[in-house]
Amino acid sequence: MISGQRPSPDRRDAPPPLARGARRFRIDGVRKEAMEVARNRVLVTAAMFFIGFVVMGVRLLDLGFFERVVETTIAAQGRAPVLTARADIVDLNGVVLATNLKTASLYADPKRVIDVDDALDKLQVALPDINRADIVNRLSADSRFVWIKRNLTPAEKWRINSLGIPGFAFEDEDRRVYPQGRLAAHVLGFVDIDGRGLAGIERFFDSRLMNPHSLHEPLKLALDVRVQHILREELANAVDAFSAIGAAGLVLDARTGEVLSMVSLPDYDPNEPKASRKETLFNRAVQGVYELGSGLKTFTVAMALDSGHARLESTYDATKPLKIARFTINDYHAKARWMSLPEVFIHSSNIGTARMGMEIGAETQRAYLDRLGLLKRPQIELTEAAEPLLPHPWREISTMTVAFGHGIAITPLHLAAGMAAVVNGGRLIPATLLAQDADNSTSVEARRVLSSETSATMRRLLRLAVIEGTGGKADVPGFEVGGKTGSAEKSAAGGYRRNALLSSFIATFPTDEPRYVVLAIIDEPKGTPETFGYATGGWTAAPVVGRVIARIGPMLGVSPRQDQENAIRNALLLPVREE
C-alpha cells in the first residue's frame, strides 16, 4: 500500500515526460536539474525512513498496549527456587515424617574474636552445654575457621544472634530431620551424610525423593502416626512387662493392603542412626523370618475347607501324640480326645492340624501357600524384605509341621497379608506402604485365593477362637475381635528351646466385616506372676492386640456393634463342647 508511493527506479532513469519542458529550463542551468534529482532522492529516502519509523511505532504501541502476555509470563516465572535436595515424607494425614531443614551451625573466626573470655561468658548463657576449655583451646589455634556447635535449633540460633558477639557467625547446612524420632524408624529408614537413602522408604524411593521435578510433592505413606504410636507403646510396654528381647507389630487395612503401622522393637533414632546399636536397625516385621507357629493354622483350616478336604463337621483324632518317623507331635493345650474342626482350631491342636495337613497333601498345601504369597519375598516397598525359609525337600513330615506353623520360616508381614486375604473375602491384596486413593479401591490388584464362603467361615472361626479359645484376652466389647494365638518354640542348634517362645497374636476386627488386621509378636517373653508364669501368645501378645484395638478402633471410625456371639454360634452350628 505504501510501496505504491515509491517511484520505480526505471521511472526515475527514463527520460521524464516533461523532457520537453525541462529542455526549456535547461538554459537556466545544469545545477538546477541536479538539485531536482537530489530532492527526489532525499524524498525517497525520507519516505523509506518514515515507513521504518511507522512500523517501529506500531510495533511499540502493540508491545506497550496489547501484548500483556510477555509481562505475565515473566511474573509467572517468579516461583521461588527449590530449597532442599530431598522431598518430604508425610503420613496418611499429612503429618511430617521426614523433612529437610537448613540448620545453622555456629563457627568462629579466631582472628576477629576480641575478648575470648568475655565472648565465652556470653555464649555460655545461650549454649549451657558447651565445653569451655575445648573451645578456648580451639580458638587459640592458628586458623580462621573453627566450628563451635553444629546443627543448632532455631531457638539457640535466635539466642546467639541476640548476643551479637563479634567473630562468631553461622553457616547453613542441609540436614534430614525426622521429627517423630524413633516412632517410624524402621519404615522410614535413614540417610547418609550426603542425603542418600540407606534403609527403609528412604532407600526404596531414593530416586523419587531426589527427583528435582517432584521435590515439592511430598511422598505420602499409608502410615498413621497415631496408630503407629499406639502399637509401638503397647508393644514396648509388653516388652518391658515380660522382659522380652524384642517385638514386632503390624496394622494392615484388610481391604486395601495399606500398612497403617509397622513396628519393630528395639528401634533406633533415624536422626542419629550411627549412635544406635547395629541390631536395632533390623526390621523384625519384614526382615526377620520366624517359625510363627499356630497363626498358620488359620491357613491350614482355610485350605482344608476351601479345597473340600474337610467340613465343619469333620473330626480329628487328638487322643494321643502323633508319632511320625523320629518326631512326636504334641498338643500344648492337650484335650486328649477326638475333636471337631472348630475345636481343633480354637484349642489350637497341633495333632489335629497335622492330620488335617496330611489329608490336604503336600501339593495342595504348597499351591495354597503359594497363592497366599507365603512362598516368596513379601510384596512391600522395602528393600529389606526377606525371602521365606521353606522346607527342602517338602516331605510328609514337612507337610504336617507346616500345617501348624513349624518347619517354615516367614516374615510377620507374610502372616498379616495372608490373614488379610483369608478374612477380606478371599482376595490377596499386596501390602503397601503408600497411601492408596480412596476412590479406586476396586482397581486394587487383587487375586482370589479362597472362596468368599470359606472366608466367611474363617471369620466366624476366628471370632470363636477369641470367645471360646486361646485368644480371650484380645476381646474388646463392641469391636468383635477375631484372632489366633501363636506360641512357637524358637529353634536352636539341634532342636527347639522349650523356654524360648515367639508369642504372637494375629487378629482382625470387626469380624462381621473385617477392616483391619492387627499382628503382635513378642520375642522370648518371660512369664510373670500376673500371667501365672505363662509366656504364650494368649497371655502376652493377645492382651497387646486387645488394647491396641480398643484404642485404634474408635480412632479409625469403626463403629462398635452389639455382640453377635449367639448369632455366630448359630450360624456355625458347631459341636463345641463347653469345658
Binding site: G78, A80, P81, L83, T84, V95, V96, T99, N100, L101, K102, T153, P154, A155, E156, W158, V177, P179, Q180, G181, L183, V225, R226, Q228, H229, I230, E233, V476, P477, G478, F479, A550, R551, G553, P554, M555, S559, P560, R561
Partner: protein, 162 residues
C-alpha cells in the same frame, strides 16, 4: 518549515530519551523488588518448613499423650461411648434412660491419684525423652517468637490453679 520539524524531532528525541531512562530505572526498581520478594518467599518457605517440623515435633503423639494425661480430664474413647446407628439412641420416655441436667456435663477434674503431675510446679521423675521434650518446650516457650505457645501454656497453668 524544516526548522520547525527539526525542533519538533529534537523535542521528541529528548522526550523519548528521558522516557526511556525513566522506564529503565523503573524496571530496575521493580526487578529489585521482585528479587527481594523472591528471597523473602524463599526465606518464608524455609521458615514454614522449620515451623512445620517444629510443630510436628511438639505435636508428637507421645508428647500429646503425656500432656493430655497431665492437664486434661479426657480419656480415650471407649467402644460403649460410640453410638453406631440412630436406633441405638435411647428414647427419653424409656424409664431406664437417665435424664441429666445440661450443666451436669462439666469436665471431670482428674483425681490426684490418676494425674499426680496436676499439682502446681510438678516435678515428676521424668523419663529421659520426656525430660528432653520438656527442656525443648521451655526453650520454645522462652522464645519471644512463640507467644502463641506462651499463651497456651498460661491458659493451662491458670487452669491448674483453679
Amino acid at each position: 518549515m524544516i526548522r520547525l520539524a527539526n525542533i519538533a524531532a529534537l523535542a521528541v528525541v529528548v522526550a523519548a530519551g528521558v522516557g526511556l531512562y525513566q522506564l529503565k530505572y523503573n524496571t530496575e526498581r521493580v526487578q529489585e523488588e521482585v528479587r527481594a520478594l523472591k528471597s523473602q518467599i524463599t526465606a518464608d518457605e524455609a521458615a514454614i518448613k522449620v515451623l512445620r517440623a517444629e510443630w510436628t515435633y511438639l505435636a508428637r503423639p507421645e508428647r500429646l499423650e503425656t500432656l493430655g494425661n497431665r492437664y486434661l480430664a479426657l480419656r480415650p474413647t471407649q467402644a460403649g461411648q460410640i453410638i453406631g446407628s440412630i436406633e441405638e439412641v435411647p428414647l427419653r420416655d424409656n424409664p431406664s434412660t437417665v435424664v441429666a441436667q445440661a450443666d451436669d456435663f462439666r469436665i471431670v477434674q482428674p483425681t490426684p491419684v490418676r494425674a499426680p503431675a496436676l499439682r502446681p510446679a510438678p516435678t515428676p521423675a521424668p523419663a529421659p525423652d520426656r525430660e528432653e521434650a520438656e527442656e525443648r518446650y521451655q526453650e520454645v516457650r522462652h522464645d519471644p517468637g512463640n507467644d502463641l505457645l506462651v499463651r497456651i501454656h498460661t491458659t493451662l497453668t491458670e487452669r491448674q490453679h483453679d
